[in-house]
């Protein structure tokens, strides 16, 4: 789908963060306190006109979205994306409209107007109005400081590799590949190398049931497989998930039948969700294509 949304324009001075020598300081474009939704996802407040909306941070999305209810609450009109143009959400729901918001303020960033895709109601936790997605997120470095409930957008104009400002303790760096706007990296799950996608919009980590059965050689009768929610999803007793310097023991990965997920192009990858990510201090340097990681509570 063609790129539809405008970036937030940086109209205010950026605040510096110390990260090495003076000329290598990081500059914060926006700093916002994160909230945690019912499902464990993180959300951020954004002002639109005189209203405040809460947006789920969704690195696994495409473009930022507002729900139908939020669009109605804000009194926005909607337009169709174009003949035959649509976006498919997890679960198969289609999105084919957008709305234009005016006077948008996000953590010190402002823009006179911004387009949002319009998503159906019921896809988000209560109290959430939409998502903030890579159309905004990938224009900056994204700094997820979960332990301090802070999310920072940081200018990518900094010295290469000079980003660990929050601790002098050791960290790990992982190179990643961008698949469209999505951060993907190789992970090892019980000895099998698989592609994973960093998805803060997913409260738990996910993998398709069929691909897991194929890779790990189990079937529906396996004693290590547990059905959840009447066959809507499954759990398998995986032992370890590792990537870079990170190892997760007994990883919590939901296996979803492809008929339910209905995202066929993604059925060969693990979605790394908040169950894993919230245990990290995660710095995504989109321009360097590198993740910088420590334990969430390193300081």
């Amino acid at each position: 789908m063609k790129r539809l949304l405008a970036m937030l324009a940086l109209l205010v001075g950026a605040s510096p963060l110390a990260a090495g020598a003076e000329d290598c300081r990081l500059h914060i474009a926006a700093s916002v306190t994160m909230g945690i939704d019912e499902a464990g996802g993180v959300y951020l407040p954004m002002s639109i006109g005189s209203n405040t909306v809460n947006l789920l941070v969704d690195t696994g999305g495409l473009d930022s979205m507002l729900s139908d209810a939020a669009v109605a609450k804000l009194g926005l009109s909607t337009q169709v994306l174009g003949a035959g143009i649509h976006v498919t959400m997890f679960g198969g729901k289609r999105i084919d409209r957008y709305a234009t918001a005016r006077d948008v303020v996000f953590g010190g960033l402002t823009t006179p107007s911004m387009r949002f895709l319009v998503m159906p109601d019921g896809a988000l936790s209560p109290g959430l109005d939409g998502t903030i997605a890579p159309d905004i997120l990938r224009a900056y470095d994204d700094d997820f400081d979960f332990a301090n409930a802070k999310f920072n957008l940081i200018s990518p104009e900094h010295c290469t590799g000079q980003v660990i400002y929050w601790t002098s303790e050791p960290h790990t760096e992982i190179e990643f590949t961008l698949d469209g706007p999505h951060v993907t990296l190789p992970v090892t799950l019980d000895g099998q190398q698989i592609t994973a996608e960093i998805d803060t919009g997913s409260s738990r980590s996910l993998f398709t049931l069929e691909e897991a059965e194929r890779l790990f050689g189990f079937d529906a009768n396996s004693p290590l497989l547990t059905s959840l929610g009447g066959g809507r999803s499954y759990k398998y007793a995986f032992k370890t998930l590792s990537f870079g310097g990170v190892t997760v023991a007994n990883p919590d990965i939901l296996l979803v039948p492809d008929a339910k997920a209905r995202l066929h192009r993604y059925n060969d990858r693990i979605i790394l969700g908040m169950g894993v990510l919230r245990q990290l201090h995660l710095y995504i340097a989109y321009h360097e294509k590198k993740l910088y990681i420590t334990a969430a509570s390193a300081h």
């Binding site: 464990g40 390193a298 300081h299």
Partner: protein, 278 residues
């Protein structure tokens, strides 16, 4: 840490100090809630709260998480205290308000729950909030208020049969149940499955015996069967109360009070009725 819990190890990365423990416990609590492991959630959130240095923005979420875990164990008084604290720290948060209302209703603090639902409706007039407030009106014997809210809930969620069921229940209590009107209400629903037999009973199209037959014929998972039995017991008991036959209602209410799944509104409602029966 209990075997089977997800743990994460950063090779060569060590976080230290009380601050680390507080957040790590908090994150462990969130993970436990997602898996439905409420014992671990209570332990982890308690540790995060008492550590004293959890980030202020996370503290209401820690109280909220522990409150949810207490609610899942039917420890309503402890849940209410936690959710009250969470609401103090995060005023007006809709998710916390929902839980707070649930805990208040569980403790028969129906006026508190009613105020919570009113705030939710004020923020966003949703069918579930009207249904929640309608039930509080019903508990408080304000049947006109209940009728008004269930009408709104039905208007906002026209395919949901439960606002209609509670509307007829409120009519029954108010002495205004009109089978012909109930038939018209029921006719607006497209679903013919459960709780169709209960709606038919209130619309004068069925009998308690026929409802019992429908319950006996229900198949599915143990959870589905327990759910149908719970609802059947409660709503048929209410129908008997409407016929002024407490003797037939009482054993059904006792069974609903004892056997309804913990997250079903019919269990507390049955206990309420038993406490208020002569």
């Amino acid at each position: 840490m209990r075997q089977g819990l997800a743990t994460i190890v950063l090779v060569c990365i060590v976080a230290s100090g009380a601050h680390a423990a507080a957040y790590d416990d908090f994150a462990r609590g969130l993970g436990a809630i997602q898996r439905g492991d409420v014992d671990t959630a209570i332990t982890a959130f308690s540790a995060a709260i008492t550590a004293g240095d959890l980030a202020p923005a996370l503290l209401p979420q820690a109280y909220r998480g522990r409150g949810i875990a207490f609610l899942a164990q039917n420890r309503c008084a402890e849940a209410f205290v936690d959710l009250d604290r969470a609401l103090e720290l995060n005023v007006g948060n809709p998710d916390i308000l929902w839980r707070h209302a649930h805990a208040a209703a569980c403790l028969n603090k129906h006026d508190v729950a009613l105020a919570d639902y009113s705030r939710l409706i004020e923020a966003e007039p949703e069918a579930d909030a009207y249904s929640g407030r309608g039930r509080q009106h019903w508990f408080l014997a304000d049947y006109a208020g209940a009728e008004s809210d269930f009408v709104q809930a039905h208007r906002l969620a026209p395919k949901d049969p439960y606002p209609v069921l509670w509307l007829e229940l409120s009519h029954l209590r108010a002495g205004t149940l009109d089978p012909a009107a109930a038939q018209r209400d029921v006719a607006t629903l497209s679903s013919t499955g459960w709780p169709g037999p209960l709606l038919a009973l209130y619309a004068g199209l069925s009998t308690p015996e026929q409802v019992a037959g429908a319950i006996a014929a229900t198949s599915g998972t143990p959870r589905v069967i327990a759910s149908v039995r719970c609802e059947g017991d409660f709503y048929v008991a209410e129908w008997w109360l409407g016929q002024r036959d407490s003797a037939k209602a009482q054993p059904l209410l006792k069974r609903a009070a004892q056997d309804c799944p913990g997250d079903f509104v019919e269990g507390p409602a049955a206990r309420f009725e038993l406490e208020h029966m002569p």
